[in-house]
Each structure stands twice: as C-alpha cells, then as structure tokens.
Symmetry: C3
Subunit: 159 residues, 3 copies
C-alpha cells in the first residue's frame, strides 16, 4: 500500500508537474472569480435571468422588471465564456505537455506567459482597455497553447 | 513493456484516485445529461435555433416559426453552462488534489459533497426550487473546489 | 532526480496514453480553431459585441452600427459551445479511461471514432449539412464517451 502511494507521489515531486499544478490552479481560480463578479453585477445592477432570483425584490409584476440584461453583466459573462474556451485547452494540452518531458525552464516560460496573458485578458475585458489589449492578450495565451500542443504531438504522436 | 503497464496501473489502484475517477465520471455524466434534456425540450416545445433542424416540421415559412427561444429550453441551457463553469475547475483542481496525497476520508468528503451539491443544483435549477436552494448548492460546490485548490497550492506551489 | 523523471515518463511511453494524448490534442486544437473562425466572421461580416472592438471602423454612432449579431457568427459560436459541452467530458473521462487498462485496439477505436465524429460535427454545423448529419455525428461522439465512462466505472468504482 505505502509502496503504491509512494509511486503516485512522484508526479507531485516532479518540478515541471508542480509548476503545471500551480499555474493551472491559478488560472482555474481566476476563471471561478468570474462567477463572483457576475453575481456582484447582477445584484448591484438588479439584472437577473431567473424569476426565482428576483423574489427578494418583490412579488409578481414588480419583480419581473428585474428580469433584464445589463451591459456590465453581459461583459463579465463574455469574459467567463472566453476563459472556458481558452483555459479548457490549456488544462488538457498543458497536462500532456507537463508529462512530455519538457525542460523545466521552457515549461515555466509557457505556464507563466499563459497565466499572465489570461490575467491581462480579464482586466482588458472588464475595464475595458482599448483594443488591441484584449486581442493581443488572447493571442498570446492561444500561441502558448499551440506551442505546447506542438511539443505534445512531436513527443507522443500515436494515431 | 508489461513493467511499464504495471506502473501505469498504480494510479487506478490508489483509492483516492479511484474515488476521484468515480465522482468525476458521475458529474461529467450528469453534465452530459443536460444535452439530452435540452434536446427533449427543443423537440417537445418545438423551439429550435438552426433552420436545418426544423425541416421535419415543414418547408419555408411554416418551418421558420419553430426558430424561437423557449423559457424551458433556455433554463436547461443555463444549467448546462453553469455545469461547465463549475465542473471544469473540479476536473482540473480535483485531479491535482487527488495527486497531492490527501487523506482518503478527507478526499471522499470533498468529492461526495461536490457531486451531491451539483446534483442538487440541477434539480434546483430545473424544477425550479425557490432560492436560496440553487444559490446555496452552487456555493457549496464552489467552496469544496476552493478547499481542494488550497490543498494543491500548499502541497505543490512552484511559481 | 533522474529516477523521478524516469517514473513520470512511463505515462508517455504507454501506447494507450500516447493515443489519448494525440487524439485529445487534436480535438482541443479543432475546438480552438472555432475561435479563429468566429473572429474571421466577425471581421468579414462586421458584427461585433464590444464597443472597443469597433473603434477601427469609426467613432461614436458610426461605430455603433457594427454592434450587431450575424447569423454566421452565431452559428460558429453554437458549434464552439457544443464542442465545449462534448470535448470537456471526453477530456476527463478519456483520461480516466486511458488509465483504466483498456486494450490498445479498443482504446484506439474509441479515440478515433470520437475525433472523427467531432470533425464531422463541425462540418455539419458550419456548412451546414442537412439533418440528421449533425445530430448523428453528435450522438456518435456522445455514445463513445458513455462507453468509456462505463469502462471507467467498472474498473475503478469507489463511492
């Protein structure tokens, strides 16, 4: 039993894997933060989508007026969806990349740039910053993921 | 070759990992169920979004009237998107947590509460139950994921 | 150090895992391609959702007319969301399946059919092909994922 546990722990003793775990956790927590920001704007802007969510603001017709879209809420939701579209590929390709024996320094460079780019992307979307801030930060994260995918396919290709 | 296979199998012989695999598969299957529920409501409510999906209901203008949104369809789709937003972090952070040597009993507690919370969340969204049912079940799953993320970062932090 | 690295590499030396890594990378890259197609249609159709994205087309009211939805853009976005809904379960369940000691030939069959089905689904959505092309390709990918989930639960079930 303890022998098996020891084997398992090799993954978390490996520096590349630890770096992957750290940056993946950071970007996933950042993505989860979008839920809280959405809730904050829904409550402060009184803009809801489900009738049961408006019950505390009154009954019947007086509650229905809070069933509406708000530009700030929609903006956060677009940022959240963009996170999903880009962080899911990082989650999968990054894991395979971390297992494909990259140099530690190269791996760190990929993970740090991706995490930084996604954090900049969030600020660029929510403030919002003028383009091309958001576009560039999106493209940097995208390019890092493509670079990791190339390394994965070069290392493991088995069709 | 068989030596390598044996090493691989250590992961699935580890009880924490097996628990992670079981609950992850359960919540992902639950999420996939949302697709079937969406299809069910689209067909019974005759509410479609693609013109090619309405072909069996008639041609031209008579088919176009089925290109519409339906409150029940939209509700399931929101539940599905909420699943994606919350189950993706569980998938990634939960995997790293399962590899970070947690106590089996602690890990089981995390996985069981998360899966239970997401199942309650789905019922709360689809029935719908009065608030704060949905809000609370969402928050419980969110808190479990944060708790696992804390353990991961404490164990592996490598910036 | 090198002893630990050697253990880690067993995963990428395993043929089932290499096949999983290859096909997962392929479907994630295919999903990422949807972002580029969305951007292409947004630019060629001049249909944007953020005011800051329209700045290069003029100022004030003349830019606002490009804040609109376009049927082609919306179609790609639906395809992208459908990818997320189906490729996330494949990512998670497929990983657990690859670690559950399937026969190599059986695993390859699952991975190849899933990847093929998702590629057909994309063409069926974007061209669009008449139904049931899109519905069938969706169902094939869904069934493959269910089949892998069954194998995972049969192998590791730990509630």
């Amino acid at each position: 039993r303890s022998g098996k546990m020891a084997k398992l722990t090799h993954l978390v003793d490996n520096e590349v894997f630890r770096a992957y775990a750290t940056y993946t956790t950071i970007v996933l927590l950042k993505m989860m933060l979008m839920s809280l920001i959405t809730a904050y704007f829904r409550i402060t802007r009184k803009a809801f989508v489900n009738l049961e969510d408006t019950a505390s603001f009154g009954k019947g017709e007086s509650a229905k007026k809070y069933l509406r879209t708000d530009p700030d809420v929609e903006r956060v939701r677009r940022g959240h969806l963009n996170d999903l579209e880009n962080i899911v590929p990082f989650l999968g390709i990054g894991l395979l990349y971390a297992l494909s024996r990259p140099e530690l320094s190269t791996a760190l460079l990929h993970f740090r740039i991706f995490a930084g780019a996604r954090i900049v992307h969030t600020f660029a979307y929510l403030i919002p910053l003028p383009q091309p801030s958001r576009g560039l930060s999106w493209a940097v994260g995208y390019a890092v993921t493509i670079s990791m995918a190339y390394k994965v396919l070069k290392t493991v290709l088995y069709l």
